[in-house]
């Protein structure tokens, strides 16, 4: 009854200057749900092929992720992504994409899933996202992710989708592109006028920012000397954020602010190793240690300036 994610489950093959991995468990729903599972119960809605085997399912089981709505197409193949990162890990190249069973994905929610309190609409075609949104009319908070592809090719559908969600989570290039506005603060104001009460903007190594109609909150990224594989960082961030929110009784702004920190903590671990390797063996103690680090990294005393009164000039 807590958190639902709809998105992709994939096998990723990734090359970076520091190494390579073949056929790792990946996809937005995988990264999101493993991250969220540290904070709450998660249900995953996605589709896989007959090649999705025991080892992959065991990962979901170990993290107590409910895969009842994980559709299996026995004679199909799971979504595959092949990517390569340059030495500057901000430069990513998609070498190949095999949509496979993902091409015909029609998310179907069980009765339990329809009663989820929080919902994350991962980065899939916006008509599908809206279809899921209609199946969870009573959700307390529905969040949306998207990407430049959908902003370019399905803008009308995306516009209808944003009108029926509460929270948009995108990166800053996407926010500017969607709002057609180079200034991020103006872009945020425009996006909030379309429906969502909150916008969260991911800025990679520069951190993240939260916009509501009344407030602004911004945090740096966790400082890392070695970034190994950024694949899934955005979904891992969203998983920590939504998972933490699902653990809270009140979804107020104070909770959202802490949720952004937990999302950033999870993303910081994600990029330290390939795929979900680091996140899979994470402990709550490690998570809370970085949460406290964030306080140290951002705290200052609120002492306004007062001109010293000098008796003698």
């Amino acid at each position: 009854m807590s958190l639902l994610v709809v998105g992709s489950v994939a096998f990723d093959s990734v090359e970076t200057p520091f190494g390579k991995r073949e056929r790792m468990l990946g996809g937005s729903a995988s990264h999101f749900s493993i991250s969220a599972s540290f904070f709450t119960d998660v249900r995953v809605v996605a589709v896989v092929g007959g090649d999705f085997g025991f080892d992959e399912r065991a990962v979901f089981d170990r993290h107590n992720i409910d895969a009842t709505d994980l559709e299996i197409v026995p004679d199909g193949q799971t979504f595959r992504w092949f990517g390569r990162y340059e030495y500057d890990l901000n430069v990513a190249h998609t070498l190949d994409t095999h949509l496979n069973v993902f091409a015909g994905f029609q998310p179907k929610l069980s009765d339990n899933s329809r009663r989820s309190r929080l919902v994350f609409l991962g980065n899939i075609q916006p008509d599908l996202q809206r279809g899921v949104r209609e199946q969870v009319p009573d959700a307390e908070l529905v969040a949306l992710d998207t990407m430049n592809l959908w902003i370019d090719t399905t803008r009308d559908s995306l516009q209808k989708t944003i009108e029926v969600v509460d929270l948009l989570i995108v990166n800053d290039a996407e926010a500017r592109q969607w709002a057609n506005e180079p200034n991020l603060i103006k872009a945020a104001r425009k996006i909030l006028s379309w429906g969502p009460h909150t916008l969260i903007v991911k800025r990679g190594e520069y951190g993240a920012a939260l916009f509501t109609k009344e407030e602004y909150f911004a945090i740096p990224a966790y400082p890392l000397e070695s970034v190994f594989d950024p694949t899934g960082a955005g979904d891992t961030f969203a998983g920590g954020l939504m998972g933490y929110l699902a653990s809270q009784d009140k979804l107020d702004e104070a909770a959202l602010r802490r949720a952004m920190i937990f999302g950033s903590v999870m993303a910081s671990f994600n990029v330290e190793e390939f795929g979900t390797e680091r996140i899979q063996r994470l402990t709550h103690e490690e998570i809370n240690r970085r949460f406290r680090d964030f306080k140290r990294f951002t705290h200052f005393e609120e002492i306004p300036f007062e001109r010293a009164v000098r008796a003698v000039q």
Copy 2:
């Protein structure tokens, strides 16, 4: 006896998509000292030509800036800079530069200036910066600014200069370039191994970060819907930062953190209008209001995550 700045005093001609101005008071020492003057007494070491007139001097006088060491070359012309910004104000073009009297600048410090407690070596040729540094052996804190030009053309001299300063203030591209290291955290570690105990990295619209051997601190930029003219933002930031530090008895890390906020506040005002126009009519109330805003924009409650204990699963 408090804060000394050495740098350029110039006449700037600036075009942006929002308007243009001819022959405004500019240069690193001008932006720095006007900004710092809100917090402390400032002495300026620079050179101008006979065209530096009553109006420009009046700006310094009004802000109580000590111009004793402002050298005037009566038959010379003041440094001129001509620049243009694109609609994306991060893209700047230098249209023309007339060094004029600045080409022969040899900073000479009066006895009073030599007794300054804090010194800011603005962005000039590193041999000149080192020459000034040698004239202030008893300064409590000496800060250095530089730019890609000096990193490219006078790296050896710059390396000697950084070894004799306490604080380096540069933007993130400069830090990465100088350290020859794309990861900023690694670049910071390398730079701190060269001598300075503190590195402050300016990140424009993404804020600023502080590195010491033990600590890290990062803040967002003040969120602005309209940025008008970014000229001098970096020196205005440094002026607020060093000016605030000069007003404090203890130059510890807590003071440095607050100083970064005051620097960011000053820079946020600077970019709202052309040149020093906005800063010149600023009030302490306005400064403290934005300082408090920064607290609101960055505060979160330090409540670590605790898994709810569920009596019934």
